[in-house]
């Protein structure tokens, strides 16, 4: 089959926790985004989600919103974000990269051009949080023919849609921990674990949990329930803190230390 399986392969071969960090392209600037990706690979990331900043990110909480605003102020765009991937590859990034973007920028570029650009950049998949399967038919089939994984999300409210979503899932299945937008949560409600177990039973491909993962305790509590975690807001909050002040020691080292404390046992 296609190279689509690079994402699946990485997800399947990862020991717990399959670790998928999210970083916003262009925050605090494009050069640092490339460095962050490489640092994350070194810190043990199996797949990188490269987030494209958007003016109206409906699924995101305040941390990612602020991060997007900073990146947009730097002139970041969907095109420029895709162009960062070859730079990451040149510097030695080998793990799969998923381009995370809202649908409107994709629509302006054109679905076909978008997917071809993603493919040419040597990224491995796409994730569009505001494109439920009812609206994604054409994009999903084009992605498939180009060998790109189209990552699906499943939410606690998905209920009777879970099987339908699971049957379309590629690479890994993104399981939204609890209702609400992205961002740090203190803990997950008990029913979250029941839901994640149900999702896990619905599919053979790895299940990664996102939305709110910000502590070592979260990662530990999901062991045996899910295959991995997606961490976005917690990392971008750290980026905001570290790059927002003139820290003495290396900014990258500080973020690496935080990431390691999350996932290493």
């Amino acid at each position: 089959m296609s190279e689509n399986n690079r994402v699946l392969e990485a997800a399947q071969n990862a020991p717990y926790p399959l670790f998928i960090p999210f970083i916003t392209a262009g925050d605090p600037n494009p050069e640092v985004t490339v460095d962050l990706a490489l640092m994350l690979q070194e810190a043990g990331a199996h797949i990188i989600e490269l987030g494209v900043p958007y003016s109206d990110p409906l699924a995101d909480g305040p941390i990612i919103q602020r991060s997007a605003q900073r990146a947009l102020a730097q002139g970041m765009s969907l095109s420029k974000a895709i162009d960062l991937v070859p730079k990451m590859r040149e510097k030695g990034l080998t793990i799969p990269v998923i381009i995370f973007t809202y649908y409107n920028p994709v629509l302006q570029l054109g679905e076909e051009t978008f997917l071809q650009r993603v493919r040419e950049s040597k990224a491995d998949g796409v994730l569009i949080p505001d494109l439920p399967f009812e609206e994604s038919e054409s994009l999903a089939s084009q992605a498939k023919s180009l060998g790109l994984a189209n990552i699906s999300l499943v939410a606690p409210t998905s209920d009777k849609r879970i099987d339908e979503i699971a049957s379309r899932a590629e690479g890994f299945l993104y399981c939204v921990s609890s209702t609400g937008v992205t961002g740090v949560r203190d803990h997950f409600p008990p029913e979250a674990y029941t839901f994640i177990k149900r999702v896990k039973e619905s599919t053979a491909i790895p299940v990664a949990v996102g939305f709110g993962i910000s502590k070592r305790a979260h990662v530990e509590s999901l062991k045996g329930v899910a295959d991995g975690v997606i961490v976005g807001s917690a990392i971008m909050k750290k980026v905001e803190e570290v790059y927002g002040k003139n820290a003495g020691e290396s900014e990258l080292d500080q973020i690496k230390a935080f990431v390691s404390s999350l996932i290493s046992s």
């Binding site: 409906l58 969907l78 302006q108 998905s158 609400g180």
Partner: protein, 397 residues
């Protein structure tokens, strides 16, 4: 025919749809089902119409603008008086319908967005009446500009929450309301204020606003024995316009939507979505919107807060594409001129939004035969705008 939309996928031609996070998909399906059942239920419809009559003050009058008609020397101009609906605008028609639907669905909390505050006030009003908890998101900037409406909502028992992201106006308040809904979807009903958002909202709001056009048709026949030749309404999201237009889509009536040209469509300060926008997705719906070449949404501008929205209802996008309705830009200046004229000649102070429709109607009237009739949707009253009008006129001096 034109009236057949939306289709099963929630599309009006190519526009509309459901571009939302997965978390909301089931809620939208449930809403669609509940709405469909409610509209088949005689009790529900009776309650809705009873409240329109006894609480909102419908039917609203159909007023002949005699002085202006004579002064312009063209077509007869009639005004559909939505400014006389309780709380001062057509917004309550929809708020009543959706609040009753929320109650029927067993939801106890209502969340809404508001720009200038008209939809927020209408929602807070019906929530007070029906005993529902009410949360209204409003841009921090709009809260500053419309302090009295904030106070009014609070007096009605609503909690007003500032939207502090982006440009801190309607677009951002809508983002925040949707985000709140995503987090509280189990017990909360999102009561959207215009024919925008994901399917089935554009249809729900349209159906609850159609009373405007239906009454107009009846009143036109009673008053001059036939339908009008032309119908005009202002378009921000487009709820009063679709309420006026939809019942006449298959009739021989020409229709015009007035969108806000702000300081002019050759400047960046406008909200002329059809004239200047391109296809894109905003708040869950594929439509025309004002955006840059990278697909980032641009903040629009209009003197009228109710037209200051970067998108437009998907059904309007469709009606513009098929040519059934013509959408034309009206500037701040033209709106103010029309507002002043109506106030001085007819003793009616219209909302700044409605003044855009009046300006377009006055332009059309002049070029039409004297036996033609134009109906204008006078969507709201202008009391809320006196500060903005005063500022504008003083600056112009």
């Amino acid at each position: 025919m034109s009236k057949a939309y939306p289709d099963a996928r929630g599309r009006f031609g190519e526009f509309g749809g459901k571009f939302v996070p997965e978390t909301l998909m089931v809620a939208l399906e449930e809403l669609e089902e509940a709405f469909h059942e409610a509209m088949q239920d005689e009790n529900f419809l009776n309650t809705y119409h009873h409240m329109l009559r006894e609480y909102a003050g419908r039917p609203t009058p159909f007023t002949y603008a005699k002085q202006i008609t004579e002064e312009l020397g063209g077509a007869h101009i009639y005004l559909k008086r939505e400014d006389l609906v309780h709380t001062g605008a057509h917004k309550l028609n929809n708020a009543i319908g959706q609040a009753l639907l929320a109650k029927r669905m067993g939801k106890t909390k209502i969340v809404a967005e508001t720009g200038a505050g008209q939809h927020g006030v209408a929602t807070a009003t019906i929530c007070a009446k029906l005993g529902l908890e009410c949360l209204v998101f409003m841009g921090e900037e709009d809260m500053r500009r419309q302090r009295l409406n904030v106070f009014r909502m609070e007096l009605l028992g609503a909690q007003v929450v500032p939207a502090t992201t982006g440009s801190k106006t309607l677009k951002d308040a809508t983002n925040e309301a949707i985000r709140y809904w995503v987090a509280n979807v189990e017990d909360t009903f999102y009561l959207i204020g215009s024919v925008v958002g994901p399917h089935p909202y554009p249809r729900i709001v349209r159906d609850f606003q159609c009373v405007i056009g239906e009454e107009t048709k009846t009143q036109a026949k009673e008053t001059f024995g036939r339908l009008p030749d032309v119908a005009v309404a202002c378009v921000g999201g487009g709820s009063n316009a679709i309420g006026m237009f939809y019942p006449m889509l298959e009739d021989d009536v020409k229709m015009y939507g007035a969108e806000a040209a702000g300081k002019g469509i050759s400047t960046s300060k406008h909200a002329a979505t059809i004239t200047k926008g391109t296809k894109g997705v905003i708040h869950g719906s594929l439509t025309y919107l004002i955006q840059d070449e990278n697909g980032q949404i641009i903040e629009p501008y209009s003197i009228s807060a109710g037209l200051d929205y970067p998108g437009i209802g998907p059904e309007h996008a469709h009606l513009a594409n098929t040519g059934r309705v013509t959408y034309l830009p009206i500037s701040d200046e033209e709106a103010i001129e029309a507002l002043t004229l109506l106030t001085k000649r007819e003793g009616i102070l219209p909302a700044l939004e409605s003044a855009h429709a009046l300006a377009l109607a006055f332009q059309q009237a002049k070029s039409l035969e004297k036996d033609n009739v134009i109906v204008v949707s006078l969507s709201g009253r202008g009391d809320k705008d006196v500060h903005s009008i005063k500022d504008y006129l003083e600056k112009r001096l």
